[in-house]
Symmetry: C2
Subunit: 633 residues, 2 copies
């Protein structure tokens, strides 16, 4: 039943470009030839068996190649990456070429069985798995060493010969997607399935989470509004609001896991087997033997990495944290100065001036966050992690700790050292709103404007020349290769994470925070959609089954918020008035309630199943079937 | 390469009895014949293809059958249950008959390749998987309904036709094991690998945990002794002791996970695939379709089960908890009475009398725990859980909550309501020591004595008769079938769990608790070993990769002990003296320290990897190999 790789010809007359490879301008002829021949070579000879076409650019340079593949080649690739698709009996199964007829929508001439994003993911996978055979160096570059089994593309990338690989946009599909996503001004859910088809699961899951999170904030916002409107200050109402918030935040995080399982089951990624992780492109070391694969590859001593982490990175992070606290103290000086100024010359201008320090501080925080981000990336890259996942974990830990302290330290200081609830409320509001405005501006509108300007200039240039190739394709590639690269969902999740902090940590002091968060997130959906569709190069689809470490980060934040809210309620004058005789009883009561709430949180997280019952049954059925199949063997 | 089940004859001339089946005395001839023929029938005909021999007992009744299997049949069975064994290249792999030559110690004539416990486990698995084909009832018992796919043995068990199935002891091996385990009076580790070979992984893991836990308690015991000897009461020393205890208990639980992974990797169970879970024998319901397997089998509505749980079980448990608290209040009355008595007539007798209420209470607690245990088993069984694992979880939850409250409520009351540290220390000591003595007595020595008496009587009876079969085998079967049944490690773990509570919850009040725990555990190892080897029937081996829900239970206890110890230290007069002016500062400090300790615990649990590096690499290698094998396919 199984077709062999090389017995069938994978050439196809109608070449459809899927992925663009851009080489450095001065790449040697010999290298180009070697690379294209390796990509086109048959699988049996160690090639990738893909189709490649050079694209002649305006100035005659031949440093751009278009990569495609025949329909049959893509189906074999889908089997290699372990794609999970829906069968005709509505169950989700791992695709294999031999069982292709059992899949929904499959026909030998139906080229839309695999979405374009899936095809591009397959090509990326095949290109990355194109490995050196007996080459010791990259032809033409004696200093770029190779060894058997080393990924050629990764070596070319680290040596700068390969500038970038990116998937092409599908103008028609993109237009349709734009229209359903944000083209119509009407209230509706996002077309998550279409987003997933076009951009892949990681990005669709981010937009799903953003939407879900916005909906989840609405009850908090609705309940929060009367507190502001009627200026409620009764302790029982605050206690109720805070308690609701705490339980609500636990529930929404647990329910998200279930929704996420439903979505990723439908998309097939819940069942997708994890691929074996290769070393990340930037990893370097001396040649040794990998204890897992038994292959020769660079190894880097774990002790040296630990030394770099604990002797350089850790002190650096501590220094940054110290610096952040130092800046915070300057902010408080400024705040004091503004207050003094306001007292001396009481005027409209001076009362506006009261907000200036907070705004400046919010801007400084944003700038520091961004600078620190680069430093953290540089350091983590210098730590030389072997796996991308380990690199990501170290980077996320560094960034989260710093951002958390940088954003919230001043609020903690105001709340628990200065005990100034009025300043806390004002500071919280200014920080939240300023950071939201800055983010929206820096993230989407500025790049969009730059991109638009660039596009105009490019178009002018194009029309002035005359090329004999399909103009629209050359134009498209040239436009897209200059677009910015989307570096993943990290920054977007981080923004939501900090927003969740602003909303939940001090929720009982400023119930209106949720309202601003909801308003921000609605525009955020549009600006992020715009960013994905208009500003950035199309990113490669990344299959994923959940939002990974962010689930843990959000859950940790919600645990911390239990503590802060309990303390805030304990400090409120209304609650204090209940215990006129003994502060001790007050503190003991607050501590007791806090422990009960924490215990309740853990019990709830334990009791609510992570997957809905029907998904559990479907998964159990698949497991049962595979066990039965093994027995039959 | 693959041998088919029925093409090869699995008959073997030298029959070695492995498992005993005891039928009810009055079982009909027709039923016996049907059952034995089904067990012996070829796999292709839906039989189990095992060997069966009747055993004629002293009074001529033929209700005992010995089950064995040929060497070849057992190897095929090992493949069916997914046994993992060591290969010649020291890696652990799932055994398959076709790859048998690559396994360490395999030879076609080496019948000790599979241990006797493994053979018995395989036979049990095959018997339990012997399923009805077209029988609608059990022949001879029209009321005992069957349906295609129903396990015959489970139906026979629930109908009382099958009294019991148990594996035979191997007298020779047992003698050897007894000698190395507890025969010699010398300090050494337990022979865990031999225990595992004889009793299986679950029991070996229990003894491994018991030994590990005892060693882990030694530092606490050693540090605790000077506190008692020199009557140290300085706050700093207590704080140090408690802090050490808290961090230590986190570390030992994390390290245990690693040790456990090392052991179960060596035993092959870490890699063993989970079998698909069948309904438990006692489960009943109306015939319906299982959504997972698509087979017809009894189904029981989840809503009715929930109703039983929440409307009957939950109120019953609450009632029991209330009753336990009521008994506790009686104990305090008794305590007060003993105190009054001691005050009135001060004498040696009256000061002895002071301990009497605690001792009585400890005995009452033990009795209540045991009665409640039966009630909980009855209720959980009545709740009609479909799976054994769900039954176990509900039972464990019920028992743990009650035992926790029953054992520790009085201590909590004394500590945090009466604030009587002297009484707490006395009560803790009496409860701990009395319960340990009672447990050792009720668990091992009493059954051992009963068993010995019974054995003597049986022997006398046997020698007075004359049978023509191998006397020693008949004797052995008759002796063993009357022995008690070991119901699993639940009670043993529960005892350790409560002991851990006594040691850790109030450790800073009574540092000597760890000493008593260590002493108890050393004798516990011996008495448990005696119990396993001499008192009970041999249990079937149960493969397992960890101690399951007990890990969570112990971890929860260590979290609770952080809270209790922090409060106790906060209450101590020495610490109070540090904050002469403000009780508030004291409480805030204690609460802060507690939160830091809890945070540190979670970070430690997160940072310490669950598996040692070399096991991680070995597992990764296996995963890599299976991915590579899939690619080659």
């Amino acid at each position: 039943m199984k077709e062999s790789w090389s017995s069938l010809d994978t050439f196809e007359p109608n070449f459809r470009p899927l992925v663009v490879i851009e080489l450095a301008k001065n790449t040697k002829e010999e290298t180009r030839e070697w690379l294209t021949s390796r990509i086109m070579d048959k699988k049996a000879n160690g090639g990738a068996q893909l189709l490649v076409k050079p694209l002649v650019t305006e100035n005659g340079d031949q440093n751009i190649y278009l990569v495609g593949a025949s329909h049959f080649r893509l189906l074999l690739g889908a089997e290699a990456v372990g794609l999970v698709k829906e069968c005709t009996d509505n169950s989700m199964r791992t695709f294999t070429y031999s069982s292709r007829k059992t899949f929904k929508g499959f026909a030998d001439d139906n080229h839309s069985f695999l979405t374009m994003a899936e095809c591009q993911y397959i090509i990326k996978h095949e290109l990355e798995n194109l490995r050196a055979k007996d080459e010791k160096i990259i032809p033409g570059y004696p200093q770029a060493k190779l060894y058997p089994g080393k990924s050629i593309v990764r070596r070319l990338l680290t040596n700068g010969i390969l500038v970038q690989i990116f998937p092409l946009h599908d103008q028609e599909e993109l237009k349709k997607l734009r229209h359903t996503w944000y083209g119509r001004v009407k209230i509706s859910y996002q077309p998550l399935d279409e987003i997933r088809c076009y951009f892949g699961e990681t990005i669709a899951l981010y937009f799903g989470f953003l939407e879900y999170f916005t909906f989840a904030l609405i009850p908090m916002a609705v309940i929060g509004i009367p507190y502001y409107v009627f200026a409620w200050e009764d302790y029982d109402k605050y206690v109720m609001f805070a308690t609701f918030n705490l339980l609500w935040s636990t529930v929404i995080l647990e329910v998200w896991k279930r929704l996420c399982a439903v979505m990723t089951y439908r998309w097939g990624t819940l069942l997708m087997k994890r691929q074996f992780e290769e070393p990340r492109p930037g990893f370097h070391g001396v040649l040794g033997v990998n204890p897992v694969t038994g292959r020769e590859e660079p190894v880097y001593s774990s002790i040296r990495r630990q030394l770099r982490i604990y002797l350089v990175s850790l002190p650096f992070v501590c220094l940054c944290l110290y610096f952040s606290l130092y800046v915070m103290m300057i902010y408080f000086d400024l705040e004091q100065w503004a207050l003094d100024y306001h007292k001396e010359n009481e005027s409209n201008f001076s009362s506006l001036m009261l907000f200036v320090p907070s705004i400046i501080y919010a801007i400084v925080i944003e700038i520091m966050n961004r600078i620190y981000r680069y430093a953290a990336e540089f350091l983590t890259s210098w730590e030389n992690h072997r796996l991308e996942s380990s690199y990501q974990n170290h980077l996320i830990l560094k960034v989260l700790v710093f951002n958390f302290l940088n954003c919230f330290a001043s609020l903690f200081y105001i709340a628990f050292v200065l005990f100034d609830m009025k300043l806390l409320r004002q500071s919280l509001a200014t920080l939240l709103i300023t950071s939201q405005i800055l983010n929206q501006f820096a993230e989407a509108f500025l790049p969009y404007w730059l991109q638009k300007r660039h596009k105009k200039r490019m178009k002018k240039k194009m029309y002035s020349q005359k090329t004999d190739m399909d103009l629209s394709l050359v134009e498209q590639v040239n436009l897209e290769k200059e677009m910015g690269t989307y570096f993943g969902t990290f920054d977007d999740y981080l923004e939501l994470f900090l927003q969740f902090g602003y909303v939940s940590l001090f929720s009982c002091v400023y119930p209106l925070a949720a309202v601003f968060a909801v308003l921000n997130n609605i525009t955020e959906i549009y600006s992020d959609a715009l960013k994905m569709c208009r500003v950035y190069k199309r990113p490669f689809a990344e299959p994923t089954a959940n939002i990974g470490v962010w689930q843990l980060a959000f859950e940790t934040m919600s645990v911390i918020s239990v503590v802060t809210n309990c303390i805030l309620i304990g400090m409120s004058p209304q609650v204090n008035a209940l215990f006129p005789d003994s502060k001790m009883d007050l503190i003991l009561t607050v501590a007791f309630v806090e422990h009960m709430l924490l215990a309740m949180k853990f019990v709830m997280a334990f009791v609510i199943p992570d997957k809905p019952r029907d998904i559990q049954i479907k998964l159990a059925r698949l497991e049962f079937e595979s066990l039965e199949a093994l027995k039959q063997q």
